[in-house]
């Protein structure tokens, strides 16, 4: 009987551990980290803005924020990415480089998730905190900056870490618009060396090594601020 003897695949890790790969991996890492970091920063600013608008409870602002958040949370990141890269230039005549498109799309995407996380964090703060600050004579701004946000952001910390990890993984989507991040580099190398198994395994490990410290940091931060 002819057993599928071809299961005996010959792993050849030389395809991964060599200088060319190392060089490309470094370039890929640079782009992955830059896309993730920029999207995180811009996204969190957007999210804070959107959450703020939602929390004013005033007609035009609430609706605008709601539409933005709803749209970007319910459509796939990949679709958003392709749309920003191909459609936006046609509509507005602005051309983005692949890298810029990636950052714009992922920022908008992350912003929507941040908005919900921040809004949730702030809404769970008891009314009593606002009352106490009010009666003590704090200005509205002082109350928000010194009392509400510190507590709200601490509440939002675990969810924020999740978003960060999600962003890191979504950065791999930017490979489809030719941003030279890790996944793109891996695809190129696999096509050249015909060793996809080794390369993609290495890629998976690389992503794990990037996200694991993030979850550890998040747990550490949660423990440190566990006063609440």
């Amino acid at each position: 009987m002819n057993i599928l003897a071809s299961n005996a695949y010959r792993w050849n890790w030389d395809a991964v551990f060599n200088h060319d790969v190392a060089h490309l991996a470094l370039v890929g890492l640079k782009y992955t980290v830059m896309v993730t970091a920029l999207s995180f920063l811009i996204g969190s600013a957007l999210g804070l803005l959107a959450a703020g608008l939602r929390l004013t409870h005033k007609p035009p602002f609430t609706q605008i924020a709601y539409i933005y958040v709803d749209f970007f949370r319910t459509t796939p990141a990949l679709v958003q990415l392709i749309w920003v890269f191909y459609v936006l230039p046609v509509l507005f005549g602005v051309t983005f480089s692949p890298f810029m498109s990636g950052v714009v799309a992922l920022s908008l995407n992350a912003g929507a998730f941040f908005a919900e996380v921040f809004r949730g964090g702030i809404e769970t703060i008891p009314q009593g905190q606002w009352d106490a600050a009010n009666v003590l004579g704090y200005t509205r701004r002082s109350t928000i900056v010194r009392i509400i946000l510190p507590q709200g952001l601490r509440q939002a910390l675990p969810a924020t870490a999740s978003i960060f990890i999600g962003l890191l993984k979504d950065s791999s989507l930017c490979s489809v618009i030719a941003v030279h991040e890790l996944t793109y580099q891996t695809q190129t190398l696999a096509a050249q060396t015909f060793r996809p198994l080794e390369l993609y395994t290495a890629l998976a490990v690389a992503y794990f090594l990037l996200t694991y410290p993030l979850s550890l940091t998040s747990s550490w931060l949660e423990r440190r601020f566990r006063v609440l």
Partner: protein
């Protein structure tokens, strides 16, 4: 047992701050939440240095009244005056309301409030909770604010808990920090909204004795409470509220022992015979 120096110092600060006007004057105040009428025409005057205790069943509007005086809730009709100055005007136009709000910064500082749920800022230590207000509202330098905070908290017997967070303190300690926090702003009127109701029975005493000392130092106080002993011993006047109106108003001895109104009798019977 004479007054401590600190109490005497406080009292000299509190004499005649309103220049003869009533500390709190409430005329025809009405408050509804959508359809539900919670305050149905309240008329009340509190003199400087007076300690008024408000009793009544839950839902009678006692807390709402306090919150209206503290400007946490807008009234629908009537007027609230603090020390002769208009703090809220139910009949005012939108423009006049803005004016009142703007000019009432100083007024807000004259009224301090302590809540049933303490409402301390959990991410700040006891000392920071008290000092923050001194720095942000009374504009003391950070060092002066801290010194004052430490002094106030030590006077309340919390000298060993200065750097602890509210989560690390007992209910009684937290409430005393809350009182210190409110007093730090040197209010002329203090409002207490069932401040011992959320405390374990053994911790109630320490808070009540702080309130008693405060009363003896001449502070104008409006206290919503179920502690009849406190009302009997410390209050100058007791007011019974029910369904949004003032049912009876009298001295502690007369109202608590010989209530004239049927509703008051009913309420007191239920509270005392537990």
């Amino acid at each position: 047992m004479g007054d401590s120096e600190a109490t005497q110092a406080d009292r000299s600060e509190r004499v005649n701050v309103f220049g003869g006007a009533k500390a709190i004057e409430i005329v025809g105040v009405r408050k509804s939440f959508d359809e539900k009428v919670v305050l149905d025409g309240i008329d009340l005057a509190v003199s400087e240095g007076e300690v008024l205790v408000l009793i009544g069943p839950s839902g009678s509007g006692k807390s709402t009244l306090l919150r209206c005086i503290a400007r946490l809730l807008p009234i629908n009709a009537g007027k609230v005056q603090i020390g002769g100055q208009v703090s809220q005007d139910g009949a005012a136009s939108w423009w006049r309301r803005m004016e009142i709000t703007r000019s009432s910064r100083a007024l807000r500082q004259q009224v301090g409030m302590v809540f049933q749920q303490f409402n301390l800022f959990p991410h700040k230590t006891a000392r920071q909770n008290v000092a923050m207000g001194l720095h942000l509202v009374r504009h003391l330098s950070k060092d002066e604010a801290d010194k004052s905070a430490v002094e106030l908290l030590t006077r309340m017997g919390l000298g060993e808990h200065l750097d602890q967070y509210p989560g690390e303190l007992s209910g009684g300690q937290q409430q005393r920090v809350a009182i210190a926090r409110a007093l730090a702003l040197r209010p002329h009127v203090m409002l207490f909204d069932e401040v011992t109701s959320a405390l374990d029975p053994e911790l109630v005493g320490e808070v009540l004795s702080v309130m008693r000392e405060l009363a003896e130092s001449g502070m104008t106080m409006l206290v919503v409470t179920h502690e009849m002993g406190f009302a009997r011993d410390v209050a100058d006047r007791v007011i019974m509220m029910d369904a949004g109106t003032i049912v009876e108003d009298g001295s502690p001895t007369s109202l608590l022992t010989r209530p004239t109104h049927a509703r008051t009798q009913q309420f007191l019977q239920r509270v005392v015979n537990r």
